[in-house]
């Protein structure tokens, strides 16, 4: 028995080794096998594709495995949806759009290596991703060097887009959300005096917190408690006790992954305070994971999947069906990024070059699912926000986008 297994394994090993050594060059370009017949000679550099029937390829960096796999899945589902819709509607100027997903595992070196493999393959017109700012920033120098667009739907580090002309992001800058939350939600809407801040210790969390704290100081708010915790933290009991002892009127949670945990534990502890969350936007997951505990929670929302907005609602329904979980704001950004990119490519007509895409993308000025998108000079956008409240298990808009101007 043992021997049979050993022989079998040896055969498998030998087979895989020969397979690899034979195809070493191809293995780096995952989908090359299936597209060999359409590959253009490499002399046509910088040209994404030759004839117009050929598909347009876009590489996507996403953490499909590892601890951030949930977001990778979000990327995959939302982007595939957008891609299928575009192709069903006739593609980009008649050409099919094809997304190639590559698993960066949420690790910077993998992300950088994959970006390099996309960048040097002339077939790819642009690179989307990566999910986290850290990974996107590791890939940025490579894409900059190769002159290919690196368009991250979700990276929000203020330093990311300025790193290169080729870097774009649409998640909104952390200063926008932080300052809005401080001035308008906590200051104006809630009217709190003393606030407690819980923030996640990641680049996003820290920079949002910094802007938030600064803005709340300007707005005359008193920060009585301000603590960061490591990403993936699950037990907040001692922080909650500590926060409660400082007697704030309002608790602000700056987090993207453990918000539900924190809300549950605050309520479970029997502390009935006003909670404002910054980051998850109108994520259905929060309601699903917190149920009754989420009642009365306020949130900043750049995106709102409501029944009144049929397009967004249809997106949310479809997403939930495909992914088997409710969409977060990230899903909307990922979905939009495909449309933004497709529109940018469509504007170029037949002459599709990587530089052309960069220029065209920078000129984006339109309204998409998640709101109007117009890039600033460095390639990021400032979003405007709604104030939403959870009421009877649903998000309800309390103040519109124009609340800031009132």
């Amino acid at each position: 028995m043992k021997r049979i297994i050993a022989v079998l394994l040896a055969v498998v090993m030998v087979f895989s080794l020969t397979a690899c050594s034979g195809g070493k060059a191809e293995t780096k370009n995952r989908s090359e096998e299936k597209t060999e017949e359409t590959e253009t000679p490499s002399k046509e550099t910088k040209k994404a594709d030759g004839a117009s029937e050929e598909p347009i390829y876009v590489g996507v960096l996403a953490p499909l495995t590892g601890t951030m796999a949930e977001y990778g899945k979000t990327y995959e589902v939302a982007m595939t949806m957008a891609m299928e819709e575009i192709n069903a509607a006739g593609g980009i100027n008649g050409r099919e759009l094809v997304l190639d997903f590559a698993d960066s595992k949420g690790e910077q070196n993998e992300s950088a290596d994959l970006a390099a493999s996309f960048a040097e393959n002339d077939k790819y017109a642009a690179v989307l991703g990566d999910f986290s700012s850290g990974c996107a920033m590791a890939a940025a120098p490579i894409c900059d060097e190769a002159g290919i667009v690196l368009f991250s739907p979700t990276a929000s580090n203020v330093d990311f887009a300025p790193m290169s002309d080729y870097c774009f992001q649409i998640a909104g800058r952390t200063d926008g959300e932080g300052i809005y939350a401080a001035e308008y939600i906590v200051g104006k809407y809630v009217g709190a005096k003393n606030i407690a801040i819980f923030s996640m210790n990641t680049d996003w969390g820290v920079s949002t917190r910094d802007y938030f704290a600064e803005a709340s100081k300007d707005a005359g708010l008193n920060v009585v408690f301000d603590e960061a915790y490591a990403e993936g933290e699950s037990d907040f009991s001692s922080l909650i006790t500590k926060a409660e002892a400082s007697e704030p009127d309002c608790v602000v949670i700056i987090d993207q992954s453990s918000t539900s945990n924190l809300i549950n534990q605050i309520r479970g502890y029997g502390w009935d305070c006003q909670i404002v969350m910054v980051g998850p936007s109108t994520s259905q997951q929060i309601i699903e994971l917190c149920a009754d505990n989420s009642e009365g929670v306020l949130t900043t929302a750049s995106v709102f999947y409501s029944e009144e907005d049929p397009q967004a609602w249809a997106f949310a329904q479809e997403f939930a069906e495909r992914a088997k979980f409710q969409p977060t704001v990230m899903a909307g950004y990922a979905y939009d990024s495909i449309y933004v990119l497709a529109d940018a490519i469509a504007r170029l007509g037949d002459d599709i070059t990587r530089d052309g895409i960069r220029g065209s993308l920078a000129k984006t000025d339109d309204t998409y699912l998640t709101g109007p998108i117009k890039f600033s000079e460095v390639g990021d956008i400032s979003r405007s926000y709604l104030i939403c409240e959870v009421s009877e298990g649903e998000y309800v808009v309390r103040c519109g986008y124009d609340y800031a101007e009132e």
């Binding site: 590892g66 899945k73 490591a230 001692s238 479970g268 502890y269 917190c290 088997k324």
Partner: protein
């Protein structure tokens, strides 16, 4: 003062969770004599088993408990067959890498099968908060502390008073000697490993209920805590491991009270290192204890 007291209570409750994990861990390590890195995944499977039971059969806590125990028992058998049985006489790092590989396998499979998103585990136990003077304790916290104490007592009795338990201890102390006195070493070691895993599964379920969520990667950080706690307790002794978990919980929460929460793991590890410098075998009194 009230504040500190409340924080201590928080620490004890958190420590109880660590202790719960560490108990299962130390049973596994005690019996097999191998270090395991699959314990987090065992807990995760327990949590998911109970999650599906709660979803399809309603919030029956006993049913969930049995389901979690059974599911992780089966996983325990797999772990034993794949990572331990073959390597009892080999150097330890081999089975260590096997457990690392196995935990990667289970975690990724779980992510594919159960989905990568967080699952809600809500309202299994009615969440009541007791107020005793200035101190607030929730129902589930009391339940966890009670379960830890009960398990520690139960296991101690089992190991010291019953025939099967004594066989387990014999195997844990010296495999060849146990073999000589007529104990079926492999069977006993497997049962011991499975008991440890089953307890791990129950711990996973309680954690899912306590944190009201379960997800495929929940085990990875927690298993490090289980590992540290049982090292602190001297690896093989159930009671000392529970104590180790309790200490780590309290130290962490005191650390957070006086400093920042981002240093949580640092407090735990620094404390562990300090204790190990003073007592190279943790709290355990047994000299020359394995491994």
């Amino acid at each position: 003062m009230e504040y500190i007291l409340n924080q201590l209570i928080n620490g004890v409750c958190q420590g109880a969770i660590y202790a719960l994990m560490a108990i299962g861990y130390s049973v596994v390590v005690g019996v097999t004599g191998m270090v395991t890195f699959t314990h987090g995944e065992v807990m995760m499977i327990g949590a998911f088993a109970s999650f599906y039971i709660f979803q399809y059969a309603g919030s029956h806590i006993v049913l969930g408990l049995l389901g979690a125990f059974a599911a992780s028992w089966i996983l325990g058998m797999l772990v034993y067959k794949i990572c331990y049985e073959h390597f009892f006489n080999a150097p330890r790092h081999i089975s260590l890498i096997c457990t690392v590989g196995f935990s990667m396998l289970v975690q990724n499979l779980a992510q594919i099968c159960f989905g990568a998103n967080k699952k809600p585990v809500l309202n299994i136990i009615e969440n009541r908060v007791f107020k005793i003077g200035p101190v607030r304790i929730s129902m589930i916290q009391v339940a966890i502390v009670v379960i830890v104490l009960a398990l520690a007592v139960l296991l101690t009795v089992y190991f010291n008073r019953t025939r099967a338990g004594m066989a387990l201890r014999a195997v844990s102390q010296d495999k060849s000697a146990a073999y000589l006195v007529g104990i079926s070493v492999k069977k006993t070691a497997m049962i011991g490993n499975c008991i440890g895993c089953g307890i791990g599964g129950v711990a996973g379920m309680l954690m899912a209920i306590y944190y009201q969520t379960c997800y495929a990667t929940m085990g990875s950080t927690m298993s490090m805590k289980a590992f540290s706690s049982s090292v602190l307790g001297g690896m093989t002794d159930v009671r000392f491991s529970a104590l180790g978990g309790l200490c780590i919980g309290v130290i962490e929460n005191l650390g957070i009270t006086f400093s920042s929460a981002s240093f949580r793991d640092a407090f735990a590890f620094c404390f562990l290192i300090l204790v190990l410098i003073i007592r190279p075998h943790g709290f355990s009194v047994k000299k020359g204890a394995r491994p």
